[in-house]
Structure formats: structure tokens, C-alpha cells
């Protein structure tokens, strides 16, 4: 028969044995959930750090230093950088440049013990203007030349729970929190911002950590890069700001992905075995039925396809359940240390369409893998023997 068995036949077979279907699907759904959660964690971290900074800004650090914390840029270097071509300037004709100082400060975590390494960024009014994603959520911006600071919204709730009016002590000074800013879920949300000169005084440093400049337009990066190359004395590394921060998520996302994928593959073994058990019994229970179908004229291929469809449907149901459960994980906010920069980062799990597709395919694949052997066995049954079995 050219026309195979109808999908309704396939679906009803699953519905006929509810307990078995539910148990198998929930086992598989748990695996799907774990897999989705892993991918969502990586994606969330990537989005948070990748969304930090703008494509049109350039991050400048000392050659080879890799992170802002390890870098030092002197005032002379900063002055020299401001004279290079390709940079944007404000209406007053000054180059838009923000020399910044970045330090890590230990703050106690509210829940549990241990200390968090919080990034404290000494910046300038330019530095705030250059990051358009920064909006003051409550309170106000810090005043230049004062001991006022503002905190990212990620620090305002969760593990650290800082509030406006609180004071933090570091560098032998008390700093008062006057505002909370929202940086659109980016890495800046986990930072403390204050005045750069004040920070440098407090920490007794005479050099900046990094210099951030704004490009005149998207294409002037090359002009700027060429100018830097002409000045080997500068001894600096440059990178578009957004790419600079995206790079910092690399180690952590790799770690999570490798660990998570290994765990998922091992777990999926268990769930696939579950699907296989279910499908084998589905075949065994219907031996006579299969014989009848064959006697009616359905081909071996029709039978294989019907059972594969059944297995895929099982996988599909599991995938959808697992995915729905995983979608709730988007409410979870994780605060942990980025092992690459040693600083605290707050991020949310996100479910992207790609992850949903990937996870569903994975779930279907588990179903197919569990269903293929039983389906082949079903198709191999001799019509006469199958009809005679009880």
C-alpha cells in the first residue's frame, strides 16, 4: 500500500498505554530539561557579557594584559591616544574619551558565606555617555569629584542586596551609594561605578587601567588601528568594546557547555533505554496486530515508519514538556564568579529560538534512537508467525 498507516493510529497507540507513555516521556523530559538549562546558561552568560559595551567603542589596554584589572595605561599614553585619528568628538570639539580605572573589591555575600569580587569602575561623564544602555533606575548619577558611587541593578538584589544610602568601605574611604543604574542586562549591571580620579586617589595609583574611546563612525576602526600601529611606543592592545567583553565569556561558557553536554549525553543514554523498552513492548504487545496489518497489504516500510513515528511522537511530547519546564528557568538569576576575570557577574538564563529548536531535535533524536531497533524487529516479523502468536 502506498499510503502508509495514518498518524491517528500512531498517536492512539501511545494514548492506549497512558502510564507507560507518561513515565517514559517524563524521563526523557527531564533529560531535555537539563540539556536546555545548560544551553540557556551559556547563552545567558554570552548575552550578558557580549551585550556589555558598544561596537562603536574601542577598549584600549596595555599590550598582553588581557583583562582590565591586569592592565595599566599611563596618563601620557592616554593623552597620546586622544590625538589619534578616527575618534568621535563632541559638539565642543573635544575627543570623546574615557580613561577608566578598574579594581576588584571584596564584598561579603548576603546569602551563604564567602566574598564576592565586585568590579569597581572609576569612570568619567564621557564614560557614561558612551554607554547608551546605561539608564539611571533610581536615585541619581554620582557627582564628579565626590565619594559618591552608583551600582548596577544586578547588585541591588540577589546575593549582595546593596541599597541606595548604604555605604561601602574600600581604599580606606567610605563610599555612599546614591543611585542604581540599569544597563540592559549587560555585564555593567554587576559593577559599581564612581569617579575615576577619586578612585585613583583612594587606591594610590597614578595610572589608569584602560582607556575607552568612541569611534567617529563604524568604519573608522581601521583608521584608528592603523594609527596605533604607527605608534609602537604606545604598547597597547585595542579591541572593539563589545567584542572585548564577549571574549571574556569564552572560558566560562566553554566550561559550562562541555560539562553540561557530557552530563546530558550520559543522561540521554538512560532516557533512550527507557524509550527503547517502551517501544519494544509496544511491538511485542501488538505482534498479532502487526501480522494483520501486513496481511492487509501494508509494507514492511509502512510498519517501520509507523513505529518510528510513534517513537518520535514520544520524543516530541517529552521535548515540549521539558522545554516548557525549562522556560520557567528564565526567571532564575545567577550570580557567580567569572573564572576568566575573577569578578562577579550576574546574569539570567535565556531561552533563544535556536536553543528551543536544538533541544527539540535532540529529543526527537532520542526517540528515534530508542525506536529504530524495535521498529526493525516489528517489520521483520513473518506474517504467518505473527498472526499465530498470542
Amino acid at each position: 500500500m502506498k499510503q502508509g498507516l495514518s498518524f491517528a493510529y500512531v498517536a492512539r497507540n501511545l494514548a492506549a498505554r497512558k502510564l507507560t507513555t507518561i513515565l517514559t516521556a517524563s524521563g526523557m523530559a527531564l533529560v531535555v530539561f537539563v540539556f536546555a538549562a545548560v544551553l540557556m546558561t551559556s547563552a545567558g552568560l554570552q548575552k550578558t557579557l557580549g551585550g556589555t559595551g558598544s561596537y562603536n567603542n574601542v577598549m584600549i589596554i596595555r599590550k598582553g594584559s588581557q583583562t582590565e584589572v591586569q592592565s595599566t595605561v599611563t596618563r601620557e599614553q592616554a593623552n597620546l591616544i586622544s590625538t589619534l585619528p578616527g575618534l568621535a568628538s563632541n559638539p565642543a570639539g573635544n575627543v570623546i574619551i574615557s580613561p577608566e580605572v578598574l579594581v576588584l573589591v571584596n564584598l561579603p555575600r548576603k546569602q551563604g558565606d564567602g566574598l564576592a569580587n565586585i568590579v569597581v569602575r572609576g569612570t568619567t561623564p564621557n564614560g557614561i555617555l558612551m554607554r547608551p544602555q546605561i539608564h539611571i533606575q533610581s536615585g541619581q548619577q554620582f557627582r564628579a569629584g565626590s565619594s559618591e558611587i552608583m551600582i548596577g541593578s544586578g547588585l541591588a538584589h540577589g546575593k549582595l542586596g546593596l541599597q541606595i544610602g548604604d555605604t561601602i568601605t574600600f581604599g580606606l574611604r567610605e563610599w555612599r551609594i546614591v543611585g542604581v543604574f540599569d544597563a540592559g542586562g549587560s555585564g555593567f549591571d554587576s559593577e559599581v561605578w564612581g569617579d575615576n580620579e577619586q578612585m585613583m586617589q583612594a587606591f594610590r595609583r597614578d595610572s589608569y587601567s584602560s582607556v575607552v574611546v568612541s569611534l567617529r563612525d563604524r568604519s573608522s576602526y581601521d583608521t584608528f588601528a592603523e594609527a596605533v600601529r604607527q605608534q609602537p611606543r604606545l604598547n597597547i592592545d585595542i579591541r572593539r568594546e563589545s567584542l572585548f567583553y564577549a571574549d571574556q565569556s569564552e572560558k566560562m561558557t566553554n566550561f559550562i557547555t562541555i560539562l553540561g553536554t557530557t552530563i546530558t549525553i550520559v543522561f540521554s543514554l538512560g532516557a533512550t533505554i527507557g524509550a527503547m523498552i517502551t517501544m519494544y513492548s509496544s511491538v511485542a504487545n501488538r505482534t498479532r496486530e502487526i501480522g494483520t496489518l501486513r496481511a492487509l497489504g501494508f509494507q514492511r516500510g509502512n510498519i517501520v515508519w509507523a513505529f518510528l513515528q510513534e517513537a518520535m511522537l514520544l520524543g516530541g511530547i517529552a521535548g515540549v514538556i521539558g522545554l516548557i519546564a525549562a522556560a520557567f528557568m528564565q526567571l532564575v538569576e545567577i550570580s557567580t564568579t567569572n573564572i576568566q576575570t575573577f569578578s562577579e557577574v550576574v546574569f539570567k538564563l535565556i531561552l533563544t529560538p535556536e536553543i528551543a529548536a536544538q533541544v527539540l531535535c535532540f529529543s526527537l533524536f532520542m526517540g528515534v534512537l530508542g525506536g529504530v531497533l524495535p521498529a526493525v524487529r516489528a517489520s521483520r516479523l513473518e506474517i504467518v508467525d505473527a498472526l499465530r502468536s498470542n
Binding site: R17, L19, T20, L23, T24, S26, G27, L30, V31, F33, V34, G64, S65, Q66, T67, V69, Q70, T72, V103, L104, V105, N106, G112, D113, G114, L115, A116, N117, F170, G171, L172, F203, R204, R205, D206, S207, N235, K251, I256, L259, I263, V266, F267, L269, G270, A271, I273, G274, M276, I277, T278, Y280, S281, N285, I334, S335, T336, T337, I339, F342
Partner: protein
């Protein structure tokens, strides 16, 4: 007693009636128990590194954070604190060998005092002497030396990240651990040599120390000693935070405790997954035997006998799978450790893990029997005899 053995024999016979299904289920349980054991061991091993720390050893660092150094002069002042035995210091060098993937910890240390404070790093006297004589010399742990095939006299170039430039070092010594629980991955260079070079290029980093390592005479005084040291530097430009080596290392671990918590949670999820699979197997087996159980009841066996048949079959299957899993955990843990040597100092399956594994497999067996036993209660003997499966 005799009856129990009879039930068990019947139950295990039942188990082998559908051989393929039972084998698949047992394999599934074994996989789950193994992964549960390995995941727990991963988490344990992270903490195990800190547990191994010497009790009479304190670490002093800048109170603001590890990113801030301390002045070298603090060393002398710490030494004068009462109860302090020995002091040495180290700076994180953080150089890159070939590329970022080839990571091993590098410290600039004080050649004269470092090996006295760390007696567990065993170094040949001659090699120590050769190291002290060569300003550009380094001492490498045996693990890292073996990994890269380094021998005495080899040159190792490192690209500095904190300390700019390309640095070239000569291997003058290879240290071994006093036992196999000592970290033998470190790469130790002269603090003096790094410091002199830094003076010329980055004066702000000169004469600065990352951490002071302090051995105290009486380990039980650790808390008081820590306070005594910190009080020396209170209200100074660089206040200190002194803690035992153990809590210092736990501080690093607590940075990633979210990840560790996730791994631990996931370890229990695998038990849930296999519970569903096993419950499915038992549900099928019981459904197939609905008529049989009804016959037994009709013959005069009571309901409890049927229960014990179902539970007996389920538990024995879980125990076989679990036992297999526990046995396989050991060779697999060994294999896993040899692949991830860089990440862990020790990787031992603890007795707690084994106990939990056994308890988990028993739980799987009991839970899996739950639905079929409830079902068998609901069915009347007549309906059971009539049932079509």
C-alpha cells in the same frame, strides 16, 4: 524466612522472563548510578583540595581583594608577631605558555624561604642550590614537568600578562609531592628576578607581594594569630585579611559554588530520570501479569504475597543494576581523573558516595514498584482473570 526466600526466587525468575527488557533496565540503572557517583565525586574533589591544606598555615593578603598587592616590608612585621614561625611570600605571575589552553599555576616566590614553609614540596638539595644560584632559574612540579616533557636545563618562555614582556626561564629543579595529595603542578620562579625587571618597566608594581604565607608555631591558635597579624596593619594604607590556608582555598571554591550546586542538583535529577524508566518497566511487567496475579489470588495467596512478588522483582533488578554501577564507578573514576588531571588534586570516591549510591538504587526499586502495587490492589480477581493484555 523460608517464605521470603521463596518469594525472592519467584521474583528473580520473573525478572528474567523478559530478558531484553530487564537487561536494558539494569544497564540504565547502572549508567544512572555511575553518573550519580561521578558527579558527586566531582563536587567532593573540588572541596577535597581545600581539606588537604596544612592546619598551621595562614595566608595574609590585601583586605580590599586579591587584585591588590601588599608592600614587601610587611613580611618583616609579620615575622615579629608572636607565635609566627616562618614567613614567605608569593606573587601570581599569570604568564602564558604557548597559548591560554596550556595553563599551569605560576608563582614568583622567595627562593630562600618558600621551600621551608612548604615542606610537602620535596626538592633535591642540589637542585635547590642550582635554583638559588640561577636568577632566571625555576622549579617545576613533577606533574607539569611530565606533561610537557621538561628536563633540567630546559628553557621555558612565558608571555607575561600582569608583568609585561616575554620572559625566559631555565628549569633548575623538579619538585615532587611528599604524598600523592600534594599539588605538583606549580611553576616557581625567583621573586627577586621578576621584581628587578618590573622596577624598570612598571615601577608601580615593584616591591609588592601578592600573598604572605605564614607558618605558625601552634596550629590551634590560628584564629588568634590571624587577628594578631591583621591588627598590626589596621588603618594602614593596605589593610590585610589573614585566614587559614583552608579557608583561603574555600574562598576560591565559593566563587563557583553556584556551579557546584547545579552539578549536585543534576546528580539527583539522573536518579529521577532512571526512576521513571524503571517504574515504566515494572508497570509493563505487572500489566502483562495481571491475569497471573489474579490466578495466584484465586488459588488463595493473599494480596501481600502479590505485593512482595512485585516489590521483590523491582528491588532485585535495582540492586543488580546499582551493584554493577557501584563496581564500575571505581575504574571509571580513575579514567576520568587521568583525563582531567589538571583540574583536580585528588579524585577519590568517598564512602558517603557509595552509601548514597546504594540507597539511591534501593529507592529506585521501591518507588518503581509503587504504581504497579497500587494498580494490583484496585483490580478485582474476576476482572484480573478476564484482563486482556
Amino acid at each position: 524466612m523460608k517464605k521470603a526466600r521463596y518469594v525472592l526466587r519467584l521474583a528473580s525468575r520473573n525478572m528474567w522472563r523478559n530478558r531484553l527488557r530487564s537487561l536494558l533496565t539494569i544497564a540504565g540503572i547502572a549508567v544512572a548510578i555511575i553518573s550519580f557517583g561521578l558527579l558527586r565525586t566531582v563536587v567532593d574533589s573540588w572541596y577535597a583540595g581545600a581539606e588537604l591544606a596544612a592546619s598551621g598555615r595562614l595566608i595574609t593578603r590585601n583586605a580590599a581583594s586579591l587584585a591588590f598587592p601588599l608592600p614587601l616590608s610587611y613580611g618583616e612585621r609579620i615575622r615579629r608577631v608572636q607565635g609566627v614561625d616562618q614567613v614567605t611570600w608569593a606573587n601570581w605571575f599569570g604568564g602564558i605558555y604557548i597559548d591560554e589552553k596550556h595553563f599551569f599555576p605560576q608563582f614568583a616566590v622567595d627562593a630562600d624561604s618558600y621551600f621551608k614553609v612548604y615542606p610537602e614540596y620535596v626538592l633535591d638539595d642540589q637542585q635547590l642550590l642550582a635554583f638559588k644560584k640561577d636568577r632566571r632559574g625555576v622549579v617545576v612540579g613533577s606533574k607539569t614537568a611530565t606533561k610537557y616533557g621538561w628536563k633540567l636545563g630546559d628553557q621555558v618562555p612565558l608571555r607575561g600578562t600582569i608583568y609585561p614582556g616575554v620572559w625566559s626561564f631555565t628549569i633548575r629543579g623538579i619538585y615532587h609531592g611528599r604524598d600523592d595529595k600534594v599539588d605538583t603542578s606549580q611553576f616557581l620562579m625567583h621573586w627577586d628576578y621578576v621584581n628587578e625587571n618590573v622596577k624598570a618597566i612598571l615601577p608601580s608594581l615593584a616591591d609588592k607581594v601578592g600573598i604572605f604565607v605564614v607558618n605558625i608555631k601552634n596550629p590551634s591558635n590560628a584564629a588568634l594569630e590571624s587577628q594578631a597579624i591583621d591588627s598590626v596593619f589596621r588603618n594602614s594604607l593596605a589593610e590585610t585579611r589573614t585566614e587559614t590556608q583552608k579557608s583561603f582555598q574555600l574562598g576560591f571554591i565559593s566563587m563557583v559554588d553556584t556551579i557546584l550546586l547545579a552539578i549536585q542538583t543534576v546528580a539527583y535529577v539522573v536518579i529521577l530520570i532512571i526512576m521513571a524508566v524503571m517504574a515504566n518497566t515494572m508497570a509493563m511487567a505487572a500489566r502483562e501479569r495481571t491475569r497471573e496475579y489474579a490466578t495466584l489470588r484465586a488459588l488463595g495467596f493473599n494480596q501481600a504475597f502479590v505485593y512482595s512478588l512485585i516489590v521483590g522483582e523491582s528491588v532485585s533488578m535495582a540492586v543488580v543494576g546499582g551493584g554493577l554501577g557501584v563496581l564500575l564507578t571505581f575504574p571509571l573514576a580513575k579514567g576520568f581523573f587521568s583525563v582531567t588531571r589538571d583540574m583536580f588534586v585528588v579524585f577519590d570516591v568517598t564512602p558517603t558516595t557509595i552509601t548514597l549510591q546504594i540507597m539511591a538504587s534501593l529507592l529506585i526499586g521501591l518507588m518503581a514498584a509503587l504504581a504497579p502495587t497500587i494498580n494490583s490492589t484496585k483490580i478485582k480477581i474476576v476482572d484480573g482473570l478476564r484482563a486482556v493484555t
